[in-house]
Symmetry: C2
Subunit: 222 residues, 2 copies
């Protein structure tokens, strides 16, 4: 499993803690981890022991709160040397960190993934860093955004996939229906073990390398 | 099966409509589209005007219901000639249909994507068809499942991405922070228009082609 240790336990926090943007976001992650993305601001206020109106000093509404959550996750993903390394190298640790960070909050991945990003400076700065590196490295300008979105879609889908059972494509009850799949799943598991990776990590690394290689080749032909 | 009088029943449906697996699944999709994946069986029973116990003749619990929903979507995705065409050709219309089918039910993508698949013969049969084609075409056996999962992760992430605003990476309020991203986003939009595609479709097609090319190349080297 690749989910990061839960950093959002708020036990021991004094009831009189001063309300802050940080504290609201922390409580929102805790709530979303339990309730999924469709929690209400009223429920969040209840968990924080404040009136709903107190939240409005920090976030005008749910969309703005979700944008703040996404911005904070983007900051946690971090830079990975796009200014100093070729984009196709720096993007590998970026994609790994992105999968881990978003995979730690499965209840809200869908809400985060479909949110408009323009309201969050953190996300815009993150994308700008990647776009600048690709541009500097001569990637065709009209392919830069499609390539970033392709990697992001793969990472988001992989974050969801990493929440499925480790042996998810292993036929058991229906093995007689699927001799090829049964053989292939066993071979993949053996290969991952030989690489000392979990199957889900080996699968992610294989797919990520293939996608980046494919994007590089597509960029070279225009 | 028990039907109770209820003023909120859907208009036009006869009061005595026979409960069936099909009808339950249809109501479950309707409910999930509104409520997301965390609806209860009690709410579903209410929408169908039946007692919760009536649902248990068809689905032992929520997991089994979600498995049934996934199985039905998989059937809608359909076969795309894996027995007659090279896997890397047949997978293109399969991936397009998959994105459209799952993208039509965004509220439940996350639940569907993380579900164990072994309980659904439809999904196992679908994966077996692809695994058999890849095996026949000489794809390395230990790479077959990772390649399928990579494409599926990309498709699921793209289905979520296609729900975001069309111009999602277009900096507006924060354009001054992102000159490279602004240029790249405009170029991508112009290119999509020239191809008479929506930007989201052009992005999906570019990423899918790059991923498949990368997976083919990785398979050729073992």
């Amino acid at each position: 499993m690749t989910t990061a240790p839960d950093a959002h336990r708020s036990a021991g926090r004094p009831r009189t803690a001063v309300l802050s943007r940080e504290r609201i976001l922390e409580a929102a992650f805790t709530l979303a981890d339990v309730r999924g993305g469709d929690f209400t601001l009223a429920a969040l206020a209840r968990n924080l022991d404040v009136r709903p109106s107190a939240l409005h000093h920090y976030f005008a509404g749910k969309d703005e709160l979700i944008a703040g959550m996404r911005g904070q996750l983007t900051t946690r993903v971090g830079d990975h040397g796009f200014d100093a390394r070729p984009w196709h190298e720096a993007i590998v640790p970026w994609a790994r960190a992105y999968r881990q960070t978003f995979g730690a909050h499965p209840g809200i991945i869908a809400a985060l993934a479909t949110l408009p990003v323009d309201d969050e400076p953190e996300s815009i700065i993150d994308y700008e860093r990647i776009a600048a590196a690709m541009s500097r490295d001569g990637y065709p300008v009209h392919r830069i955004v499609p390539a970033i979105v392709a990697i992001e879609s793969f990472v988001i889908g992989s974050a969801l996939d990493s929440l499925a059972p480790e042996d998810n494509l292993r036929p058991v009850d229906n093995a007689e229906l699927a001799p090829n799949l049964t053989r292939a799943e066993a071979a993949a598991r053996e290969n991952a073990a030989a690489q000392r990776h979990s199957a889900v990590t080996e699968t992610f690394e294989f797919g990520l390398a293939a996608l980046i290689a494919g994007l590089l080749a597509a960029g070279a032909t225009g």
